[in-house]
Symmetry: C2
Subunit: 448 residues, 2 copies
Amino acid sequence: MDQQKKRVVIIGGGFGGLNLAKYLDKKKYDVMIVDKNNYHSFAPLFYQVASSGLEPSGITFPLRREMRRGRMRGCRYSMGTVSVIDVSRKEVLTEFEKIPYDILVIAAGATNNFFGIEGLKDHVYTMKSASESIRTRNAVLYNLERAAQCDDPEERKALLTFAVVGGGPTGVEIAGALGEMKRWVIAKEYPGIRPEEVKVILYEGTDRLLRTMSGKSSADALRDLGQLMVDVRLGKTMSAYKDGELIFADGEKVKSRVVIWTAGIVGNPLTIIGSDVKAGPGGRYAVDEYNRVEGLEDVYAIGDISSHADERFPRGCPQLAQPAIQQGRCLARNLNKGMLAEAFNYRDKGSMATIGRNRAVVDMGKMHISGWTAWVAWLGVHLVTLLGMRNKIVVLINWIWSYFGLATSLRMILKPNKEPHTPVTPAPVPPVPALPGDADYRGERGKD
Amino acid sequence: MDQQKKRVVIIGGGFGGLNLAKYLDKKKYDVMIVDKNNYHSFAPLFYQVASSGLEPSGITFPLRREMRRGRMRGCRYSMGTVSVIDVSRKEVLTEFEKIPYDILVIAAGATNNFFGIEGLKDHVYTMKSASESIRTRNAVLYNLERAAQCDDPEERKALLTFAVVGGGPTGVEIAGALGEMKRWVIAKEYPGIRPEEVKVILYEGTDRLLRTMSGKSSADALRDLGQLMVDVRLGKTMSAYKDGELIFADGEKVKSRVVIWTAGIVGNPLTIIGSDVKAGPGGRYAVDEYNRVEGLEDVYAIGDISSHADERFPRGCPQLAQPAIQQGRCLARNLNKGMLAEAFNYRDKGSMATIGRNRAVVDMGKMHISGWTAWVAWLGVHLVTLLGMRNKIVVLINWIWSYFGLATSLRMILKPNKEPHTPVTPAPVPPVPALPGDADYRGERGKD
């Protein structure tokens, strides 16, 4: 390490961290990304992994590979989950090592928020990482196989009821994908299951889907999901998931073996030593207009784990890829200048969600489009923003295949195998204070 | 099920089972494949999954998808691991159900044989399934990350020593792939590791590599591996792997955190009720020239798990894809005729192994080729035999990418997540007798 350079440690190689690392001046800064995964994930497409449309390899990109060239050249990567930030010593702690910093940027992102609801954490399926998405895919396919072998009508019904909780973009997208599976795949590949036996139910707590989008988008999504035979239930709040049964606030009970939870996110938990600063509602760190964490020095937060309340966004920016990307780039510009000259100002480029083949909704400013045009726009935007040419090509081929084949061919139950062995010599990690559980963060629900 | 049709149950959807199912006359037979995986795997390319060259999705193919059309149309699939064959009741038992048969074909294939050597089963990495190969890939990448963080020279050495045991085709192929990683990837992506620190060692018990192939192939493989900086040690027999240390029969000890075992296979264990018939050496069932299991009625065995000793092959056919494919097709022809008219006669189409970019060896009859021509032949044969057009295209793109990029871009440590939840109601499985452990099968070593 060059002694003249300041050491910038970035926790997390997601959209925010990656863009910050890319645009930071490597002549001025020694940049290190710390992430538990050695790859960047394209989170908006996790639901396609869960619905057998794409492989994780199509939407993930090794960080070291990215650091070989272009703007990322010169960045370094260290594997590990940061659990503790010691602001008094200016270092972060992972399970493997202590890493000193001059400037720290928390870009650790968010994970699932179960709001402490009984039975959720251990029994529902989620899609906040590639591994979680594969697990969801496995569960869907496993239950179809079990149903095909099952004669008991009650049991069959529970196995074939796929419940999606949360009517945000992710919930709408996975429900649509499951609806397409019901419509196009079941009859052709599961002779022992009648398509009408498969129930896909989407539960949303408020009175409309996609409530961060326009009313037109909500209405179009509702119509499109209906055409895909997805049963949408609005105004339904979950109170528990117990013994394979979903229980709602209004007393309704529904048996389902696969409950996919997309109804809440919370910032990844971190413990700060040497200061009283804690994450606020939703596990998000309060930051000022330059993304400085309030109450800390030389510590910034960007993306889903940060929150700056202003007139436009009283609860902070929406937790999406775009704000994270823009914050990462804005912070890079400020740090490169050596002064906080530019206050962050989110430029909303619009939002979109896909519901299935030829079906999507797009809001851009006051403009709303839906149907085939929106769907093609959705494909294009996602393909262009995906990292790596190989990934783009592989994803495109998969999409073309699905489009003309009316079915995906990735329906493998790839069972997890054992983890890599832990090293014989334990890594030298200092004792770490207990981490807050997610029950401590009963904040506002996130983007979904 | 049509009552007139005889029910053929095939245990295993590998090369043998799949080809049998494909060519059986569906007007005469009701065909069911029982397999623990809902997909067929192209086993010859597992080593490329382990070395980050290919994704499992490129070399696996969902069985139900294959059963939609063409020759497989009309076959059925049931998920499960067959543990017990009850020949008195003519049924097989899986963890989920009992399946009755009129004709049973054991095509369950082979798994790793550790010959009861201390420490192997729990501590080495293997490549006999897609999951095992991903686990091996994760271990290699994980150790590189740990080494990059490690200052202790002893520890670094152990982390960066990759030992491959077994000089058959799989061992040669994975050693070559690791050699290429050492040569092309380490310097570019791991600034904290010098390429010369990485040691790839291939251990073989006999005095030559690829001993099922020609002497020329053995010599060429040895030379090519040397050029890839793989350290080949012939005449080395392992006696234990203890505390992260390989111990050889001659007393040599080598510290290595990743030991990849390719030195033995054994037929997947099955228990037969109602007969004294047991698997013979190597866990293989002795069959006659029509692949009938000796001593049983209406039970056949094909592929790696079967063995017919004759003058040409006193220990049975080589355990490779070709004999399994040919046995499956031959048995289908016999069953379709309703009489055992055709004795199985293995047509050796030649054998090949790849060592790396532009390097391979091919034996066809008395002909031997090596180098670029052999490598292109290897690519072509594997691409043509791979199931599914989408798979062929995706694999080809990955190969082209690796070829021109001199590096693969699939180096993600995709950590396993939890298994799908077990059903709330336990599946109705009858009590099953204890299965023989692999230590009971100290037979001859298999193809590697």
